[in-house]
């Protein structure tokens, strides 16, 4: 029915208005709602995409809806999906959080959509369930590691650390110079997880099969020394007094501002922060560099990588064809160019034909060697295992503010993980 209506509309517009009809691509019409999170970059890029798409397809109306991020956002997405009230197209994490959405039941399969031919298989694997692919990349790939302030490093004559001991030695010099060595922002608790999550390359370097064993309930954080290290690192920077005074109340934008303006030297974060810096503090974009979270061995220095967040269509959508077309537009080289234009380039794309502009900010060019030939990287645990405990961010706040020792924090996280595995109905729990 929509098809006939569509053709009727097309006919009417081409005949009636005598418009130039060289557009071979079928024009779309209809209505979509598009749910995104309220981060400034997400809003900026979503608005740019919608503007470009509706300009090419004037008969399409797309309403952008905004939700909070973090746990509050998880709640909204899960509840709206479960109650059949989800927006037609929406943005959400890939990997373990995607698995928790019950995709086979709630999401529209996109396996056969033409744009999937250009999407890298490594990305498809983190948005697949039951043999179907459900997502398309919303953003470039990311790395989890540590932002540092380049002018401060130059001023104090510091080198980018390759081991944790070098990192701590740098911190000591920065503290001695009267500066904040490590910025933490527990006012937004999700930011507290980075030291643990971004340490996963170092975990895999020592225990290559940790992810499989973890999923099968055979390996635990608390009983794997390499896995406890992440918690210990979190505790170590607190105990050494390297943190900013207001670490308990500071927020994510505060952290980005501090590392960009040199109020602090290091900020553990995902590289998508580059986009937010470009958006809010563009004058200092060139002052922020990036390195992978160092492990114990300089020879095994590599980056923990994050697959991009993804864009999905709800199974309940009333216009699946339009939804697929819009998602295909976002996951096309044209979509990437619009993103580069709107919020700048924050990392390598997962889509064939998407290019990074020549003048990427230093934090991005610092990250690219880890992805290049000869560089070392490994996916974060949440892309290798469907199990991620929801209370990790509270536990890392505790360990990172000296309330709970690292070993106990790791043990508590193992408890938390068990609930998630049981809810997912995994074998062996």
């Amino acid at each position: 029915m929509t098809k006939t209506k569509l053709f009727a509309l097309m006919g009417a517009s081409t005949l009636g208005l005598m418009m130039a009809s060289h557009a071979v691509q079928a024009q779309q019409s209809g209505y979509l709602s598009f749910l995104i999170d309220n981060g400034p970059q997400s809003v900026a890029v979503a608005e740019a995409w919608v503007a470009a798409y509706t300009e090419a397809n004037p008969d399409v109306t797309i309403d952008i809806e905004v939700r909070p991020g973090g746990g509050e956002g998880d709640n909204i997405v899960k509840t709206r999906l479960a109650t059949g009230a989800m927006a037609d197209v929406f943005f959400y994490n890939s990997g373990s959080l995607f698995q928790a959405l019950n995709p086979t039941q709630n999401l529209l399969p996109l396996t056969d959509a033409p744009f999937q031919a250009n999407v890298q298989d490594s990305f498809k694997s983190v948005v697949s369930a039951g043999g179907e692919v459900y997502g398309a990349p919303f953003a470039p790939a990311m790395g989890g590691g540590i932002f540092y302030n380049i002018p401060l490093y130059a001023e104090l004559g510091l080198e980018v650390p390759k081991t944790w001991d070098e990192f701590m030695a740098n911190n000591e010099k920065i503290k001695a110079a009267g500066k904040v060595a490590v910025i933490q922002t527990y006012g937004e608790s999700w930011t507290s997880q980075l030291f643990v999550l971004a340490d996963f390359f170092n975990v895999l370097a020592e225990v290559p099969d940790f992810a499989e064993k973890f999923t099968a309930n055979e390996a635990k954080f608390a009983t794997t020394p390499a896995a406890v290290r992440g918690f210990e690192k979190l505790q170590a920077v607190f105990e050494a007094g390297y943190l900013n005074e207001d670490f308990g109340a500071a927020t994510y934008p505060d952290g980005l501002r501090m590392v960009a303006t040199g109020e602090g030297a290091h900020y553990p974060m995902l590289t998508f922060g580059v986009g937010a810096i470009a958006e809010t503090i563009p004058d200092h974009l060139q002052d922020v560099g990036f390195f992978a979270q160092p492990g114990d061995d300089a020879a095994k220095n590599g980056l923990t990588t994050w697959m991009p967040d993804s864009i999905y269509a709800a199974k309940t959508t009333s216009s699946p064809d339009l939804a697929k077309d819009f998602i295909g537009f976002i996951a096309s080289p044209e979509g990437c160019d619009i993103r580069n234009e709107a919020v700048g380039a924050t990392g390598p794309y997962m889509i064939a034909g998407c290019e990074l502009p020549a003048d990427v900010p230093p934090a991005v060019s610092d990250m690219l060697p880890y992805f290049a030939e000869g560089g070392q990287n490994a996916p974060a645990l949440e892309f290798l295992s469907p199990v991620k405990g929801p209370a990790l961010e509270q536990i890392t706040v505790e360990v990172g503010s000296g309330i709970r020792p690292a070993a106990e924090g790791a043990a508590l996280y193992d408890e938390d993980v068990r609930k998630q595995a049981q809810q997912l109905g995994l074998e062996g729990w």
Binding site: G71, E72, D74, N75, K78, T79, A82, T83, A100, N102, Q105, Y186, G187, S189, E245, D246, F247, G248, A249, P390, A391, Q394, I395, V397, E398, S401, I403, R404, L412, E415, K419, Q420, Q422, Q423, G425
Partner: protein, 296 residues
């Protein structure tokens, strides 16, 4: 059935209206209250994903009581309720005494004290979060002017719960004051005259006349604020989200976090626990307070 029918018949004889007038209210009550209550009892025994539910017996309850932070949450809940209702009783009484005496601008002061009750709780929470910021907050900046280094009100795990409870008192004391004002005004003047003839001091006046005779008001204030404190959620969520870590978690915020994580069965089990907890604490409390009231 017959036992229920007998009193209904008796009531019918006295009532002007036929008993089916109760039907609309009964339907609403059954659909919106009874049905969800019994449904939640069932779902608390399942692993539930909103679309499918697997029966797992009492495992959710076992899990809920294994939550390492649940015990702390329970203690926090009771501590929070006790602090906020205790302070509301004391401060509400003192403010009511002041506002029933002959002071300047009494009407204005009464509205000022009551005003915070009218403001949205979440709004109050967000405002105080800004005021209580450890380094840029107005409270600590004011303290630093007189040479005191203010504590991290909401970020110190030992203080966070108390800070939130204090804000709860600030917001709720107006209501307690109004209840006390009504109670104090209702005390007959004869008692005070008799006390004056007996040569009672103002302090004796308060302890032997005002305090015993305002017991009904005290019972109301304690019950209302204690129940409110037990199931408090909005203020805590707006200010600390149970943090830092789990330091200011209450039963309600633990339940909400389980719901947020998609553990619907587990969080429903938590609600059943909260329901029982409130019943166990509040039923004896009200019985105690009301019995004393009967003796007066």
């Amino acid at each position: 059935m017959t036992a229920a029918a007998a009193p209904a018949l008796k009531a019918q004889r006295r009532s002007l209206y036929p008993s089916w007038f109760y039907a609309p209210a009964a339907v609403i009550y059954a659909v919106l209250f009874l049905a969800p209550t019994f449904a939640s009892l069932y779902f608390s025994l399942t692993r539930w994903s909103l679309s499918s539910a697997v029966f797992i017996g009492f495992e959710n309850f076992a899990q809920f009581f294994r939550e390492p932070f649940l015990i702390q949450g329970l203690v926090n809940t009771v501590v929070y309720a006790a602090i906020s209702s205790g302070l509301k009783v004391v401060l509400g009484m003192l403010l009511a005494l002041m506002l029933t005496s002959q002071i300047m601008g009494r009407g204005y002061l009464r509205s000022v004290i009551f005003f915070p009750v009218l403001v949205s709780t979440v709004g109050v929470g967000m405002t105080f979060t800004v005021l209580m910021h450890p380094t840029n907050g107005m409270i600590n900046e004011a303290l630093s002017l007189i040479g005191i280094k203010g504590p991290g009100w909401l970020v110190d795990p030992k203080l966070a719960l108390f800070s939130v409870a204090l804000v709860d008192v600030w917001k709720g004391v107006g209501l307690a004051t109004v209840i006390y004002i009504a109670g104090l005004v209702a005390i007959p003047k004869d008692y005070y005259e008799a006390a004056r003839i007996d040569g009672a001091t103002p302090l004796q006046n308060f302890f032997y006349v005002t305090l015993p005779l305002s017991r009904p008001a005290t019972a109301t204030v304690i019950t209302l604020s204690f129940i409110g404190g037990l199931r408090t959620f909005d203020l805590i969520w707006a200010m600390t989200k149970g943090g830092p870590g789990f330091a200011s978690d209450t039963v309600a915020s633990v339940i909400y976090k389980q719901y947020q994580a998609g553990f619907y069965g587990l969080s429903t089990a938590g609600n059943v626990v909260l329901f029982i907890l409130i019943a166990v604490l509040v039923v004896p409390l009200t019985m105690f307070l009301n019995r004393k009231q009967g003796f007066e």
